[in-house]
């Protein structure tokens, strides 16, 4: 399949913990012919619901770090003087502060500093009961998560092309910074999950602004809408003003957590009301993306 025919949906939120992964997993159960990709690489959770069987594992090198040959180092201090990140002093590198710019390696009069690729995580191509899944594990305390997002998304595109899949389903990271930007570039549709709280509204406005910045059409889902109906109404009017469609209001339902504890998507666990809303949301999304209709809904666990 040609890359341009493949549709990409990014599920994001601005604020963390609003239900991105819950919705992404539910859509994974509903959508046909898709590849899933977890772009929340520094706190990835989607694998807990998709039960992946890892097919291949690759190492991720996120950037370079200086390596100092201490025998050549004369402790002249020039590296510390030029480093704007306070990451090197007398040949000792603070790999947490270091941003890998390589300035030190260029100015060292003894040429004692060389830049070496730094191993900063792993990424995986997996098979799941719902289809292929690309995910990653950023090394503990590593940076450059945006670059890793780009790596997993590129792989998802390859898999979609090879297998003739028409949709890439992206579980995005929270925030609006570099991993989010990397998750949004080139997608066809953004689905922003929010909650009817002041924080939820505040963060929704910023993520929708970002989506507009990239000229990507957006839709909105309010999770736990019944916690504060007034705020839900405010979100609805903000969406209207912004030109985003509010496509779903999910009630507060303790069974959503029960499903999660069982390691199941909400479509595989009896929670009727939530399933109904998610199902209608998916219809809106597939209509908007013009992808094939979903699987037969009768196969889902209800009760």
């Amino acid at each position: 399949m040609d890359g341009s025919e493949i549709k990409q949906l990014a599920i994001v939120s601005g604020k963390g913990g609003t239900g991105k992964t819950t919705i992404a997993a539910a859509f994974a159960a509903l959508a046909k012919d898709k590849v899933m990709v977890d772009c929340d690489v520094d706190a990835a959770d989607l694998h807990l619901l998709l039960r992946p069987k890892i097919l291949t594992q690759e190492k991720y090198f996120g950037g370079k770090r200086p390596h100092v040959d201490l025998e050549q180092c004369t402790q002249c201090g020039l590296c510390a003087e030029v480093c704007r990140f306070n990451a090197i002093d007398n040949g000792v590198v603070n790999s947490i502060s270091c941003e890998g710019c390589g300035f030190c390696s260029h100015i060292c009069p003894e040429e004692a500093i060389t830049m070496r690729e730094a191993f900063s995580g792993d990424w995986f191509v997996s098979e799941t009961p719902y289809g292929p899944f690309i995910h990653a594990r950023l090394g503990i305390g590593e940076e450059n998560s945006g670059k890793l997002v780009t790596v997993v998304r590129k792989k998802a595109m390859e898999v979609a092309q090879e297998r003739g899949l028409e949709l890439i389903l992206i579980d995005g990271p929270p925030g609006i910074g570099c991993p989010v930007t990397a998750s949004l570039t080139g997608v066809n549709l953004v689905l922003a999950i929010t909650e009817p709280t002041l924080s939820g509204i505040h963060d929704l406005e910023r993520i929708l602004k970002l989506s507009d910045h990239f000229k990507i059409p957006s839709m909105v889902c309010v999770n736990k809408f019944d916690i504060n109906l007034g705020n839900t109404a405010k979100i609805a009017s903000h969406c209207k003003k912004n030109g985003s469609r509010l496509i779903g209001e999910i009630p507060y339902e303790p069974r959503v957590v029960e499903a999660l504890v069982q390691g199941k998507t909400v479509m595989d666990y009896p929670c009727n009301e939530v399933q109904g809303v998610v199902h209608r949301m998916w219809k809106e999304v597939e209509d908007s993306l013009k992808v094939k209709k979903c699987l037969n809904t009768k196969s889902f666990v209800t009760g």
């Binding site: 939120s13 601005g14 604020k15 963390g16 913990g17 609003t18 992964t21 929340d40 690489v41 520094d42 706190a43 959770d45 807990l48 950037g63 370079k64 030029v82 704007r84 990140f85 947490i96 502060s97 941003e99 890998g100 710019c101 390589g102 300035f103 260029h106 100015i107 950023l138 503990i140 305390g141 590593e142 940076e143 450059n144 998560s145 990271p173 929270p174 925030g175 910074g177 570099c178 989010v180 930007t181 990397a182 909650e195 709280t197 002041l198 924080s199 939820g200 505040h202 963060d203 910023r206 602004k209 910045h213 736990k224 916690i227 504060n228 705020n231 957590v257 999660l260 504890v261 390691g263």
Partner: protein
């Protein structure tokens, strides 16, 4: 004393803990700094009056092309591919620039100078008598860490400084928590909460920062978070039950201690436990 509030998983209650903790401590002794510059929320609960707004930028290169020989050195040394030289053109991609300064220093003709490019603002003010600072990243800017670094320059060391961190375990979180005397990890007893707690613990161990856990919505989910903390000897310093009343007050921007003052004592207790933990880790 610097105490950061982090979480791994988003939406577990970092801001709730940060705001209620500062409101429960003696006025004049605390400062609240919101380092979640991508999505700052603390101000929604503290409703501070902002006295000062400062534009914050990072240095980015500009070229005096009348003297440029297009040798390509700048593009060659830039690790972030923020500069390219094509024929007689030097292109600078501002969003990719980390402001390291290598290009201007290493330019053989010395024709590269730097200008400050705004990436966000820092707001300073106070609410309820508590000094407050937050950083707000401009929408569309990818790099949060430099703004967090600048926001942290506002730390008043003599005070008890509470830092509200962003979610996750990547660079913006590290930038926030490094230098803290203690980090409180807020989690919830679900598989997502536990998975991300383990990642956050790994991060703090690498940074060598002493830590404790707050379990929010403690009566949902399962008991695996407790088992994990037991097995790793991580102290659980507070538990907050799932309470629809708390959720509703939160939705309206009302701190728990305002809605239900009996919580003040609980947050005082939390602070005492943190102090004890810091004393223990200092030997």
């Amino acid at each position: 004393m610097i105490i950061s509030i982090a979480s791994g998983k988003g939406g577990t209650g970092k801001t709730t803990i940060a705001v209620n903790l500062v409101l429960s401590l003696q006025k004049g002794t605390v400062q609240l700094i919101d380092c979640d510059v991508e999505e700052p929320n603390s101000h929604l609960f503290l409703s501070p009056t902002i006295h000062q707004v400062t534009s914050m930028g990072i240095p980015v290169p500009r070229i005096d092309e009348s003297k440029c020989t297009y040798c390509g050195k700048c593009a060659k040394v830039c690790e972030y591919h923020a500069m390219t030289v094509i024929l007689k053109n030097v292109l600078v991609f501002d969003e990719l620039c980390h402001g390291c300064g290598a290009c201007s220093y290493l330019c053989p003709e010395k024709v590269i100078f730097e200008i400050e490019r705004e990436i966000g603002i820092i707001q300073e003010g106070s609410g309820n008598g508590i000094p407050f600072v937050n950083g707000v990243l401009n929408v569309g800017e990818p790099m949060a860490s430099p703004l967090i670094r600048k926001t942290k320059e506002k730390i008043q060391k003599e005070k008890i400084v509470i830092l509200d961190a962003p979610p996750g375990t990547a660079c913006p979180v590290i930038e926030t928590v490094k230098g803290s005397d203690f980090c409180l990890l807020v989690t919830e007893p679900t598989p997502f909460g536990l998975n991300d707690l383990e990642l956050a613990v790994g991060m703090l161990e690498r940074l060598g920062i002493p830590m404790g856990v707050v379990i929010n919505k403690a009566d949902i989910g399962d008991r695996k978070v407790w088992d994990y903390c037991d097995s790793r000897n991580i102290p659980i310093l507070m538990e907050i039950p799932m309470d629809r009343q708390i959720a509703e007050s939160y939705s309206r921007g009302i701190p728990i201690v305002v809605e239900n003052p009996s919580y003040i004592q609980k947050f005082e207790g939390l602070f005492e436990k943190i102090e004890n933990q810091i004393a223990v880790s200092n030997g």
